[in-house]
Symmetry: C2
Subunit: 314 residues, 2 copies
């Protein structure tokens, strides 16, 4: 396993997209060799610019991401898009037709596009996304764009992997969307009003500005509101510059280190939990755990008592 992995990693680092896709599949599905990949790539990660793009469906995010890919490619760096769709837990993958719009970019040798299935991530979708981003980063990707659809806790967790998060809205989504924005607003470093050639763009920008004044005040960074029209490309440069400014601020203010420390804590704690459970099962046997579950399901014992008993014997 180890030799095959080293070879695969070398080819992926050299720009072989099929090798890269294979490496990511190993990591995503936690196949044998996944830990080896993480170990080998970990020291080289931490260099890429990671930008999260999130917001409710219908905001034109994929088109905007495609524009960003074009803009970042101008610098000659390799660019990757990781498209995550947590709203589809059972269909096993991204179901957004929008994705097809990225196809023209996919022909570019320096662009790598990954749709992440959202099923089967025992450790959680956010953790898997963070690993995929870390591997892309370590293997020479200069810019990673993480696109998620939706507005729930899961999306918030997924997009935390990014150094800079852009929340994309559009004019005319109506009052229902207001409720959603209030929650996600707090993770946004940049607010984007896309399709800003539509009527109502001024009001949307004004609403966002007002919502910002209501939220928890942040130390040192006021999320700018950027207007884009992804269909024509208008405003893409403004967005890229806003990302640059946020990155500069994050590096200087210590925000970048804070986010990295949070990510490390989540990963270490999760691996620790997994390791402890595996060790317990080795010691007392997986059947003991299954039996305890069955007794709890039958209400013969409460879950606390069942777990205490397992821990006592371990």
């Amino acid at each position: 396993v180890a030799v095959a992995t080293a070879d695969l990693l070398e080819r992926a680092r050299g720009g072989d997209k099929r090798a890269l896709a294979r490496v990511l599949t190993v990591v995503e599905n936690d196949e044998p060799g996944a830990a080896d990949v993480v170990r080998r790539t970990f020291p080289q990660a931490g260099r890429a610019l990671v930008v999260g793009v999130t917001g409710p469906p219908g905001g034109g995010k994929s088109t905007l991401v495609s524009r960003l890919v074009g803009a970042y490619r101008e610098s000659g760096q390799r660019v990757a898009v990781v498209a995550v769709d947590p709203s589809s837990p059972f269909t096993g993958g991204a179901i957004l037709g929008d994705r097809i719009r990225m196809q023209s970019r996919a022909l570019d040798e320096g662009v790598f596009i990954r749709s992440m299935a959202s099923r089967g991530h025992a450790g959680g979708l956010a953790r898997t996304t963070a690993r995929v981003v870390s591997v892309l980063d370590a293997l020479g990707t200069g810019v990673v764009l993480v696109e998620t659809v939706g507005v729930g806790q899961e999306e918030v967790e997924v997009v935390r992997v990014a150094g800079t998060v852009a929340l994309v809205t559009v004019p005319g989504l109506g009052d229902d969307i207001q409720a959603i924005k209030a929650g996600v607003l707090e993770i946004a470093d940049i607010l984007v009003v896309n399709k800003s050639d539509r009527p109502g763009a001024d009001e949307t920008a004004r609403d966002l500005a007002q919502m910002l004044t209501l939220g928890t005040p942040r130390a040192g960074w006021k999320p700018p509101i950027v207007r884009t029209t992804a269909a024509t490309g208008d405003g893409t440069g403004d967005l890229v510059r806003a990302v640059e400014r946020h990155q500069a601020w994050a590096a200087e203010s210590g925000e970048r280190e804070r986010r990295r420390a949070d990510a490390a804590r989540i990963e270490v704690e999760a691996l620790l939990r997994d390791g402890l459970v595996r060790r317990l099962e080795r010691r007392i046997g997986g059947d003991r755990v299954r039996l305890a579950v069955a007794r709890v399901a039958a209400r013969e014992v409460d879950p606390y008592a069942a777990v205490e008993e397992l821990l006592r014997d371990a």
Copy 2:
């Protein structure tokens, strides 16, 4: 603590809403006494009818839930509503103005309404919801309606606590909503087209029926499509009857036992993980874990190696 809890539980069981609210707060915030509450109530739970109501914002779910409360109250049973809003991870609570519409029901002595804050559930929102539902069930609530807003993984997890899940849509939500429905569709036991007096209700029902044929075939249960107009109350009886039919099928087919076993497994595994981590920290000290996190954040060591080291010394 134990004595206070016993007294509180007795008052809650007797119908004292303030005592019940206090008990649920203890459980929700994992305050001292939470484990004691779970232990004491666990044997009595498992009797309530638990119905999940989910769907995208703007579907009129709260009005529909209010109608269901009215319908179930006719049987004289105590009814509780647990309103969960995972889309608001930071604002610390349900932000939906819809909730106010429930107020008239709240004056009814046999109706208990609980809005669950979505922040600060270390064990996950779904786990906390399951505990709150279990406590309500054990303390004499005959029907628990769990309402969630949204369409992501978190909502799916929350609503799994229910024995029957109704997915509420409305005519005219547009193509963007189609993408969302495909994912959540698979957890729905009943499909509700609310606001079905609006134009487009026939098309929405037809679209849903067609989407059902595309999904994974289910053994023995074909989710019915029920039309309601919550504003007038039309169709509430149809929905109640559909829930009854699903409950009868679930009891007979073994589906109910399967769901209970899943819930037990999730709870036992989560408690086991928590217990193992606490024991590890007692043995090697929390500082050791924090140091490992800091070294991973600084990329001095990869997370696997850091965790291996912690486990070796524990």
